[in-house]
């Protein structure tokens, strides 16, 4: 504990209340839920990238002992699908169907479902389904998908271009840049073409669902690992054509989500429908191959950037084109991540002149949608590689080039030509701190002498912004994002003075329950043991507008603070009556309600006042009994977390292997609620970021359209020996927009990881002129680059 008081909990590494069951093997995940009478679903998935389905013979499967039903697209009449939430103007909509209707468009797309007594039997029955496929030409590359004569994935849309969206470089004040002028004026124009690899969250727990339809009460209970239960409830009711009041979503422990569980999925509809048909609980647990094929993928982009610079290193302008490989269907957020890439690409730099075209492209691949970072890491990869290329071209140190172009601490709020308003930060200070921590000058010196000994050491800097705390609902409306941006919190004080906090946030490993309990205990100035947090039940918890992503604690925490402000005000009013004092002379402090200046003599505990609030014998006139409040907080602005990472690596030029020397993080997420958990989030997000930078990739075979990496032996997630120890330092620039000064930080570690690594590798190989412009930088890919460069 960093404080001597036991009533202030913000800034304290409070132990996680989540841990007690989890370390005993008594967590309760979806697979552990099995109501009486449960039957099991298995799903037949397309083995082809693109194939017409001319018919499905279900007779043999239906005849198998132990099989209850088979669902095909023909059974979905009258059943809807899930709309895209982010519907940018001009985006051609193609919702993800629950079962492929007449045509399968990617390997892994659901074609039929079987329900049987056990999962083993259901899989036996899948083998008996006879599908008449007519194989069609496929396309799994964005540029090929845009070429004349390419197979069209969704005929209804005409071609494979889903949207062409332009960022014209006009900031929120309406000030436009002059991109052509910037390029005319430039001393140097630097170009880059980047392939950001396709990878995803790949949570250790696969997705799963248990649906329980009660035909007498006409209610559906769905046990789900969704990060955004409120939205799932709204959309599922609409898709099934039943009242939303009939649907309850229960969330147990989640074994990792990483954004992938923000989306709605076909299986949500399939298990619900099967349970409604059979009147029995229906359970589906995704297997690992399904998880790799059918849980959304993320990231994949082909970016082309041009940067205009003057010879002194001033970046005059940036223009680019981003092709986003969306896969076969628009999933829950449309091309949202690629839009964020366009909005964030100017990063920490004062680049007045900006232009970016974002093109969403359909291919015969798994939908590309929500994944930790959501377009931000892709943006950082492009701009931070461009900064290093520019530095090399101009002969300026890459740290110095960044320093010369950074937005200064006194220039906030900063109106970016990408459209965002940055709230606060101190970018040069974060860079300086990172360079100091890594001993930049010393490492640069050593680099020279090591190279003479045949050791190829590289230093990679990457700075980042992370626009988090999405966002004021009115702005989401302007962006055609069809949810709100708020979080609600209900706090109830029981007659003994203890607090129960109801949140719509869904904990998925970050420690949200502990963090929110800290905020509540801190604001009420009571022992954290006296705060209970209730989550994971849409019948009890407030509607969450945006849905809980890792970066939402900042918004949810403010909702808690505001609800408690109302409770304290009411406690003061009731307490003043009991103390026979004017409410203006009474204050709430240290968990007590006291007459100011007479705290020793005229004072009540929160429990005293709560008891009176429930008895309601002596309440002030007009005061409602009990002591509770609900506050729905809609953020005033986005918050921008920021920082700089520095990676130091050695590259083995004979094998392409990368060895870690050091990795330094300086992050600024405003006021920190729990330092230990923040460290955990940074390290974990870094493992996601570096995984995609070095190892993880969904590889598609051009020839067959097959997903080649559909086991964990082919899709490589980082293991213990692949990652370094991270050295973490913080700056604290509280957000001026949020009560408490919090910023979202759960995703930030993903943002600079890939460019920091790529910049370090390119720096190590600068003598060969190797450019590292594609992720992941696998040993074989890197070896080929070294080989081509003659190394």
């Amino acid at each position: 504990m960093t404080t001597t008081q036991e009533t202030r909990w913000i800034g304290v590494s409070a132990p996680r209340r989540e841990d007690a069951p989890l370390i005993r093997g008594r967590g309760r995940y979806i697979a552990d839920i099995e109501p009486a009478g449960t039957v099991h679903m298995a799903i037949l998935r397309s083995p082809y990238a693109h194939a017409r389905i001319n018919g499905i013979d279900t007779a043999a499967a239906e005849a198998l002992d132990g099989v209850y039903c088979v669902l095909t697209a023909a059974d979905l009449e009258g059943i809807g699908d899930f709309p895209t939430i982010w519907r940018l103007p001009g985006q051609k909509e193609s919702n993800t169907p629950a079962l492929a209707p007449g045509k399968a468009r990617y390997v892994g797309e659901p074609v039929a479902a079987v329900v049987a007594d056990s999962r083993y039997m259901a899989e036996d029955a899948l083998d008996l389904l006879d599908v008449d496929y007519e194989i069609l030409d496929h396309v799994v590359d964005v540029e090929a998908a845009l070429a004349d004569g390419a197979p069209v994935i969704n005929e209804d849309l005409g071609d494979n271009t889903i949207i062409e969206y332009t960022f014209p470089g006009i900031n929120a004040l309406g000030v436009a840049g002059d991109i052509d002028g910037a390029f005319e004026e430039a001393d140097e124009i630097v170009s880059g073409r980047f392939k950001v690899g396709r990878y995803s969250g790949v949570a250790l727990e696969t997705r799963g669902l248990v649906a329980e339809w009660d035909d007498l009460r006409q209610t559906l209970t769905l046990h789900s690992g969704s990060q955004v239960a409120s939205l799932l409830r709204t959309e599922l009711a609409a898709a099934l054509g039943i009242p939303e009041t009939s649907v309850r979503i229960l969330t147990p422990n989640i074994g990792g989500a990483f954004g992938n569980q923000w989306d709605r999925y076909p299986e949500d509809i399939l298990v619900s429908l099967a349970s409604m048909k059979l009147g029995r609980p229906v359970k589906w647990i995704e297997d690992r191959r399904e998880a790799l094929q059918a849980t959304v993928h993320g990231r994949e982009q082909l970016q082309e950037w041009q940067l205009a610079a003057s010879s002194d290193g001033t970046v005059l302008g940036l223009k680019g084109r981003v092709l986003s490989d969306q896969g076969a269907h628009l999933h829950s957020v449309g091309i949202g991540p690629a839009w964020v890439t366009g909005a964030a690409a100017v990063n920490q730099y004062k680049i007045a002149n900006y232009h970016c075209d974002v093109v969403g492209v359909a291919t015969n691949k798994t939908p590309n949608s929500t994944f930790r970072g959501f377009g931000g890491p892709e943006a950082m990869f492009g701009i931070e590689r461009m900064m290093d290329k520019t530095a090399r071209r101009l002969g300026i140190d890459p740290a110095e080039l960044r320093r010369r172009n950074m937005i200064q601490a006194d220039e906030f709020p900063y109106f970016s030509p990408g459209g965002a308003v940055y709230d606060s930060g101190n970018y040069p200070a974060a860079l300086a701190k990172a360079l100091e921590a890594v001993e930049y000058d010393k490492v640069r010196e050593e680099q020279q002498s090591l190279r003479e000994q045949g050791v190829y050491r590289g230093i990679g800097i990457a700075s980042y912004i992370h626009v988090s705390g999405f966002g004021p609902s009115a702005i989401l409306g302007i962006l055609d994002y069809y949810t709100g941006g708020y979080e609600g919190s209900t706090v109830k004080i029981d007659p003994h003075g203890r607090a129960t906090l109801y949140t719509g946030m869904i904990p998925m490993g970050q420690g949200t329950e502990t963090t929110l309990a800290q905020v509540a205990a801190d604001q009420l100035e009571i022992d954290i043991a006296n705060v209970r947090v209730v989550w994971g039940d849409t019948d009890q918890t407030p509607y969450t507008g945006f849905g809980s992503a890792g970066s939402r604690s900042n918004v949810a925490a403010v909702a808690v603070i505001k609800a408690i402000e109302e409770i304290k005000a009411k406690a003061v009013r009731i307490g003043a009556g009991l103390l026979e004092a004017d409410p203006d002379d009474v204050a709430y402090a240290d968990g007590r309600i006291s007459v100011k200046g007479a705290e020793e003599m005229r004072s009540l505990t929160l429990a005293d006042v709560a008891q009176q609030a429930y008895w309601a014998h002596k309440l002030p006139e007009g005061e409602q009994p009990t002591l509770e409040a609900t506050y729905v907080y809609d953020p005033a602005n986005f918050t921008t977390a920021c920082g700089t990472h520095v990676a130091v690596v050695d590259v083995d030029i004979d094998t392409g292997k990368i060895d870690w020397v050091k990795y330094v993080v300086v992050d600024d997420a405003g006021t920190i609620i729990n330092p230990l958990l923040v460290e955990g989030q940074i390290q974990g997000a870094l493992s996601n970021g570096l995984g995609g930078a070095m190892l993880e990739e969904f590889v598609y075979d051009e020839e067959t359209g097959q997903l080649l990496s559909s086991t964990l032996m082919d899709y490589l997630v980082p293991s213990f020996t692949d990652l370094p120890d991270f050295e973490i330092h913080h700056l604290v620039t509280p957000s001026p927009h949020t009560e408490g000064g919090f910023k979202g930080m759960g995703e930030a570690g993903c943002f600079p990881a890939a460019p920091a690594l790529a910049n370090a590798v390119a720096d190590a190989l600068s003598h060969l002129g190797v450019e590292v412009d594609q992720t992941p930088v696998t040993p074989s890919r890197l070896w080929s680059l070294i080989d081509q460069a003659g190394g």
């Binding site: 841990d19 370390i23 967590g27 998925m508 974990g684 964990l712 213990f720 120890d725």
Partner: protein, 163 residues
């Protein structure tokens, strides 16, 4: 209904006869027939280590074994580690050093950690990283798991404590 076989599974010190299809994995039998759901399934092809149990003192992946192969062996699952509030040092260390986030890999990690320390009472961070390479965590980036195992090893060397 496929034919079943009887097998006696000795788990956490208690023997129980179960009747299972020969194709049923040990992991599924532990979870479904014995109701011990602390053993998790992350990949069912032997890569992730979430289903790790100790069998006759060795770590095994219960997803890669059939239940009928486990007759006669002494099996320890996470439920057999620590008793009530008397937690194993490895469990305490994981909580204290934030060696877990979502908790899904944690039972396997704790058993693997106990196994490492039983063979090497004072492992270096590098040894822990190498020895535990068969268990995947997607949340933590591993650093705090390494710290947890090291801390537990230190406690175990003074307090004792084995599976």
């Amino acid at each position: 209904m496929a034919e079943t076989m009887s097998v006696v599974l000795n788990v956490n010190g208690a023997g129980r006869s179960v009747s299972v299809e020969p194709r049923k994995t040990l992991a599924d039998a532990i979870r479904e027939d014995l109701g011990l759901t602390g053993t998790h399934l992350g990949c069912e092809h032997g890569v992730c280590g979430a289903c790790t149990v100790l069998m006759d003192g060795e770590v095994v992946r219960s997803c890669l074994m059939l239940a009928v192969q486990a007759g006669g062996a002494e099996i320890t699952t996470i439920e057999g580690i620590g008793a009530g509030d008397d937690l194993h040092p490895m469990q305490r260390a994981f909580s204290e050093y934030h060696g877990l986030q979502c908790g899904f890999c944690t039972p396997g990690m704790i058993l693997a950690g106990i196994d490492v320390v039983s063979r090497n009472p004072d492992p270096s961070p590098q040894e822990i990283r190498e020895e535990m390479g068969g268990n995947i965590c997607r949340c933590t980036g591993y650093q705090k798991i390494v710290e947890s195992v090291q801390a537990a090893a230190a406690i175990m060397s003074t307090e004792g404590g084995s599976a």
